[in-house]
Amino acid sequence: MLYKETGQYKSTYKSDHAIFPLIQDKIAFSTLMFIAFLIIPFVINSYWEKAILVPFLIFSLAAIGLNILTGYCGQVSLGTGGFMAVGAFSTYKIMTYFPDLNIMIIILISGLITAAVGILFGLPSLRIKGFYLAVATLASQFFLVWLFNKVPWFYNYSDTGQITVSERLMFGVPVTGATAPPYATYLFCLILVVLLGFAAKNLIRSKMGRSWMAIRDMDIAAEIIGVPPLKTKLSAFAISSFYIGVAGALYFAVFLGAIEVTESFDIMTISFPVLFMIIIGGLGSMLGSFLGAAFIVTLPIGLKFIMVDLVGLSAVTAKHFEITIWGLLMIIFLIVEPHGLARLWSIAKEKLRRWPFPY
């Protein structure tokens, strides 16, 4: 009853192809955008910015990137941390070489550089797949992190191997550096995420996205019906890496401000969590990328809040619980809902459609 599509007729192809074909979805999405753009910036404080919203937005972008590659094109990747590092270090190098270039342009160029690196590391995917590809991308993770730690040129010969962002303005307001106000960094990330999110959604609905899914579902059949595997797989690697590179650039420039490659782009801090995001959120689903990122970013903070601040456990006990609960949830999720949070949402929609007359 609440969520019914009866009576909503489509009389043109255009309206039939809309991203949100139902009026309810349109309303929900516009409300969300209204809150995100016009309410949150006025109430945000630095805790919500640095601990929850900005990491959520950045990891959503990384999850979209990985979802394109793994969820839509079926190529498993464990190299997310390495590709994010490429984005971060490109941003740093471009920033130091061109101090006057706009930060938005720098970040997009960093995405393009990461896309090029992604194509390079995507080449083995033409010969190997499945677990073997996962191992090959794992190699890229270790190689890239090692490279950025080993070659001092990447960190401008600083003594410690740390790279530090300097202040950059957007419309006269700093968006990077320690003095950037919370609303500025939040809006900066939000705009990028919304624009790139729409671009990804439309790419997936285009010819390119359909050929990705054809390769994912059965690569030999796809090749026979005329989908070129080389072009398709490499385009998936390129676009996926572009998103991950932009996420890495934001992670460095806007979120942390100072980064050490071995610690910040470690496989345990980036690659696995992002993979969990798309598995928990839902493979091959845009909504899933966002839900997964929200889940993984907020779960430890939420658990900590409940256990330490509400129940009054000591910080270390709470941490041990958190680690346990984390593992448990992962297993439960994979057993109960292997299609992730996005699938839960579609079940909820189904229920809402029938409510209050379940059968």
Partner: protein, 431 residues
């Protein structure tokens, strides 16, 4: 039925959330970023226990600082930078001082804390050039820096070789991170000055895997090995050195690589291993008696109380003592017990821990005296060498406290901090 359960659940959580009240503002808040989990927990736990026990003792014995109770909320970072940022944001309101206990998190907090007006005290770690108070207004790293440490270690080697180490080979085994890379530039400068060959051997996080490193040492046979390690890396290194029969008295760790946890796993093999230190080991000081009386005997020891008197526990006591002393000084300067974070910074900058004052605080002969000034946030720069006695299972001080090579160190600090000041457009203070 379901709805009823749901309602009960919602009511319960509303009650729970509304009962969660902000801590009272009048108290002095010393937030703690700790790591009692993860690869660095063996070192993180005793240190955190030292802090907590000292704060508890001050609260119980003196009723707080000038009548204001100390609050010390713990936030578990697991030595992870991103979590450290979350902990900082969560606790920074009205916080007196942050002690990140991680060079990575310190680097992260330097610009943030400077912008927010919060003191960061990285005791003998963090960014070495923060010793220059002219540039780093809010950051303190007294009593000694890594660059002092590197030159003190070289001085010790020089002394053992009758002042001539030309052509000798010194290897640096370091944690491949900002922390471990800190001493490299100083050692390179010193190697030119004294004519020794420097061999750099990085060990990746978390430090479990060191086979290749020690194989190289076995092949190249350096005359001395220095180590900048932390957490599980220390134990593995000491064990590996023992297993390749490297002479342990030629193996010197930084002050973060010289606790009981690091040498006990290697058993007798660790006998003779040396490390630098800026505080004495043992549990016979007045402060230990007070902690025993006011905290441990009441059953309120932090953790399981088993680290009492160990090196890192004692270092925690020392760090907490300086932080509390800064509040005392700030209260004196500003004539109020209710100090703000900005007043606290003034106190930290005016800390003067003379031998007499240390004795009053129960720290007689515990550490060399030092004082902070507007220009110098790096303290005395004094450290000593201690040696492990595996039979008695205790650390013995084998040298006096000594200075590093201040010509080299001061020049490097000035260079690095002016580079930072130019990057961040900071005007020098104290003129």
């Amino acid at each position: 039925m379901r709805i009823k359960q749901l309602l009960i659940g919602i009511t319960a959580s509303v009650i729970a959330i509304s009962s969660y009240v902000e801590i009272a503002v009048a108290d002095l808040k010393f937030p703690m970023l700790v790591y009692r989990t993860g690869a660095y927990a063996p070192n993180g736990i005793p240190n955190a226990d030292g802090f907590v026990d000292y704060y508890k003792m001050i609260n119980a014995r003196d009723g707080g600082i000038g009548g204001e109770k100390i609050l010390h909320p713990e936030c578990e970072t697991g030595y992870k930078t991103q979590v450290g940022v979350e902990c900082y944001e969560k606790n920074k309101k009205d916080a007196m001082v942050f002690q990140p206990m991680s060079t990575g998190i310190t680097y992260q907090l330097i610009p943030k804390a400077t912008a927010d007006g919060v003191t960061v005290y990285s005791t003998g770690y963090g960014r070495t050039s923060a010793a220059n108070g002219k540039v780093f207004k809010w950051i303190f790293n007294a009593p000694v820096t890594y660059w002092d440490g590197a030159s003190i270690a070289v001085r010790h080697i020089l002394k053992n070789n009758l002042g001539n180490i030309k052509g000798k080979k010194i290897a640096l085994v370091y944690h491949n991170s900002a922390y471990g890379k800190e001493p490299i530039r100083t050692l390179q400068t010193l190697s030119k000055k004294h004519g020794f060959k420097l061999m750099l051997l990085p060990v990746d996080h978390p430090g479990q895997e060191q086979k290749a490193t020690w194989l190289k040492i076995r092949k190249a046979r350096p005359d001395n090995v220095l180590m900048w390690g932390w957490g599980v890396m220390n134990q593995v290194a000491v064990k590996s050195a023992a297993s390749i029969k490297f002479p342990m008295d030629k193996f010197i760790g930084i002050w973060w690589s010289g606790s009981e946890n690091d040498v006990l796993p290697a058993g007798q093999g660790a006998h003779g291993y040396k490390s630098l230190t800026f505080n004495a080991p043992g549990d016979s000081y007045q402060v230990h008696k007070d902690i025993k009386k006011y905290v441990h005997d009441k059953g309120e020891a932090s953790g399981d109380g088993s680290h009492f008197g160990t090196v890192l526990y004692n270092r925690g006591l020392f760090q907490a003592m300086v932080q509390v002393e800064a509040a005392v000084v700030a209260q004196k300067i500003h004539g109020t017990s209710k100090i703000t974070p900005a007043m606290y910074r003034d106190g930290m900058e005016a800390v003067n821990l003379s031998a007499k004052r240390m004795e009053e605080l129960g720290f007689k002969d515990f550490a060399p005296p030092f004082k902070n000034t507007c220009e110098n946030h790096g303290g005395s720069g004094l450290a000593a060498v201690q040696q492990w006695d595996a039979k008695a299972k205790k650390w013995n001080m084998i040298t006096e406290y000594m200075y590093g090579d201040s010509d080299v160190v001061q020049k490097l600090i000035a260079e690095d901090s002016s580079k930072y000041a130019a990057e961040q457009k900071i005007a020098e203070r104290c003129n």
